[in-house]
Each structure stands twice: as structure tokens, then as C-alpha cells.
Amino acid sequence: GAGVSQSPSNKVTEKGKDVELRCDPISGHTALYWYRQSLGQGLEFLIYFQGNSAPDKSGLPSDRFSAERTGGSVSTLTIQRTQQEDSAVYLCASSLQTSGIVAGELFFGEGSRLTVL
């Protein structure tokens, strides 16, 4: 597709279950980001991929959170043993990194709304 695609759009799960959120970035975009937005909060950075590697995963809240990217394309964010505080909208974005130049513009998907009961 033309834009960043995320699935599922909505996920309701029980506390303690594992969840996987998927992001399909814009074709050709080498940089991929995960952010989350909790109720009443701004967008919180989680992790950044350049190709398949993650130079910065400093925003992952705990070791229950992990992410991978394969083939320089699709990324999966996994949350293990979900807690109620994990409830948020998880947003994926991609950008076309140009060497030595900050493109600045991130293209966001519509997000995956996670509700942990």
C-alpha cells in the first residue's frame, strides 16, 4: 500500500497475555519507529530501526517489550505478560533516511489500540 499499515487496529487482551503488533512501512523507507500514546500523554518513543538493526531501543519500558524487523521491511512489536499500564495506542512510523541529512518527516500509521483488561 501507499502508507504505513498497522495491524491489528484494535486489540483487547487479558492481563498476563502476550500480544504482537505488526507494522508494514512505506516501501523503500529504511527507518522505522515505534511510538506509543497513553491516555492524556504525548507520543512516547519506544524504538528505532535502521534497516534490520535497532540502534536505539532506549524507549522500551521494560524487558517485557521487544521488537524486531525483518527484510528491512515489516516490524513486530511484542509485549509479553501484558499489564494494564500497557494500554495505549501503539504507533509505527517510517521515514526515508538520507545520509547526512535529517529528512525530518515521519509517516505514521493509524496505530494499534491496545486495551489490557
Partner: protein, 113 residues
């Protein structure tokens, strides 16, 4: 530690008037600033940006002003239109590193006819 702050959670403006959205930042290393607009159930979309070598950038009805000494930027929309009603996020980053954008909490703009 909120490095980018949008202290007004909401703003109401009449159609045709100017909307002014404000943003403050604390990290003096930030040198690139962006505004994103978000409609309900959609992802944020890029609106306008400014680098620290400028103090103003204009794109149609949208103008961003940067006051580095005050660590303050603002987005002006004139004239405001009902379709501008959305949540506006201010974001900042540091050039030279990768594009880790630090976002504010957003301001909900309502433009009434």
C-alpha cells in the same frame, strides 16, 4: 521529564480568526522542530518544520515561529478553518543524530463556523 511541553490542552477559535498554538522545550540541544496534526483514529501527519538557523517558516496558512533564547515555538494558522480542528503535536529533535523525535502532549484545536 517532559522535554517538550504544550501547556494548553485545548484551544477554541472562530473560523477566519488566527489560531496560535504554543510549545516550549527544555533541551537546548534541540535544533529541529516540527508540527504534526492528528485527526481521530488516524496517525499524525507532518505539517511544517523549522530548523534552528531560522526564526520563521511559512507554508500557506501555516507559519511556525522559533524563539531560541526563550526555547519557545509557536504555530500560527490564519485564517483558521473548521477542517483545521484536530490535535496538534509539537516535536523536536537533534540534527546529526538519528531522527528521534520528542513529542509534546498535544493541543486540541476546535475551529467553529
Amino acid at each position: 521529564d517532559q522535554q517538550v511541553k504544550q501547556n494548553s490542552p485545548s484551544l477554541s477559535v472562530q473560523e477566519g480568526r488566527i489560531s496560535i498554538l504554543n510549545c516550549d522545550y527544555t533541551n537546548s540541544m534541540f535544533d529541529y522542530f516540527l508540527w504534526y496534526k492528528k485527526y481521530p483514529a488516524e496517525g499524525p501527519t507532518f505539517l511544517i518544520s523549522i530548523s534552528s538557523i531560522k526564526d520563521k517558516n511559512e507554508d500557506g496558512r501555516f507559519t511556525v515561529f522559533l524563539n531560541k533564547s526563550a526555547k519557545h515555538l509557536s504555530l500560527h494558522i490564519v485564517p483558521s478553518q473548521p477542517g483545521d480542528s484536530a490535535v496538534y503535536f509539537c516535536a523536536a529533535s537533534i540534527l546529526g543524530g538519528f531522527q528521534k523525535l520528542v513529542f509534546g502532549t498535544g493541543t486540541r484545536l476546535l475551529v467553529s463556523p
